[in-house]
Symmetry: C2
Amino acid sequence: MSIKLMITDDHPVVTNGLLKIFDGHPAIQVSAVFSNGKDLLNELKVTLPDILLLDMNLPDMTGMELASEIIKKYPSVKIIILSSSDIIIQVKKMLQLGCQGYLLKDSDDVTIVKAIEAVNAGEQFLSPVLQQQILNDLFKKKQAPAELTRREKEILQLITEEFTNQEIADKLFISPHTVDNHRVSLLSKLQAKNTAGLVRRALEQGLVK
Amino acid sequence: MSIKLMITDDHPVVTNGLLKIFDGHPAIQVSAVFSNGKDLLNELKVTLPDILLLDMNLPDMTGMELASEIIKKYPSVKIIILSSSDIIIQVKKMLQLGCQGYLLKDSDDVTIVKAIEAVNAGEQFLSPVLQQQILNDLFKKKQAPAELTRREKEILQLITEEFTNQEIADKLFISPHTVDNHRVSLLSKLQAKNTAGLVRRALEQGLVK
DNA sequence: CGTGGCATAGCGGAAAACCACTGGTTTTGG
DNA sequence: CCAAAACCAGTGGTTTTCCGCTATGCCACG
């Protein structure tokens, strides 16, 4: 049985190139090509492909929105994102959304076919470049230490766990005033403006949990 | 020039095993072995190794604390964490702290030597198992979509950016009361108790930025 | 064409957070 | 052992958030 594929991309150059690639692969059958999200959604009401090659930058809606909707409505359709953006955050987001693959547009024929076969087999696929980049990302961050005292870390932890000053005070057997004081120090040290900022920085800098 | 190595681990079995491995590698010279953090810190005041093999679970202090301090005081020392824990969060934390490698204790001789050589050459090294796990991690999350309306997402974003209700209202040309209402919806939908919870969930679920 | 979800707006009151002080005790490191 | 840093506690006041109400206009979907 051949793999039924749909392509959505508003650049004819890309779609033509893809079509040419799949021409030589009888196991991969392109059942439809669309240049915008709306057309795709309409077609999906009628037929579902095995795999959908989806561009991130469509004229009528973002890839995020589109992918999100498709995943929700038609969970059986496997989505491979086709993008020229290698921004890690974006890659992560799409994968966490539930896409099965993420291909860079400069991928060669072999890689693209490999990706489709892998995803069709129930695996995931990530452009090798991106794999490397994600690993590097982990090392790079080297966040500024942000010198917090033991007590401050402890209280920051509890703040992110949604405890109020009063609750924290009870837990640590100190006065709510003291908790408040630590809070002020934290705001200053982390250069935050309010609780939201504290939690944000705490999570971003891995100071908690 | 040979690589000067220090080992810190409170399990004789582990250190003995390591020593045996390095016996066969003249390019790697073990200059000292410690069984706790304090002894190590004392020695570092006198001599610095090229690379430090550091156990995560020491009797007197956590690997986090120790690594953090060493990185701050002696940034030239490269640290490879030696741990039996493959908990991804912990791995990430150590790497972001600035450690150059993370080895699982069940790694074979070849891998360990490879790691040391890589780190000595200025690269990073991660146990292959962990590399795979981190990539899988990205796909797995499949977070519950958390159905937020456009407005709610927008407001959640601004909350995490430390704006107050009043400021958000000004920005969106709506009443502060309306912002407050959306906030209540958000608290309910995300099952958060307060602003801290909102920000935490927003970041964890990648709903912002 | 109605029903339900969304966005808007408002009110009032309680709770929590924010801010700037002062001042005492304990811990820590050189 | 001394000084600095951290921790604790309090006063007093302002701002913001939290929560439960009510209520209206809009629009999409069946």
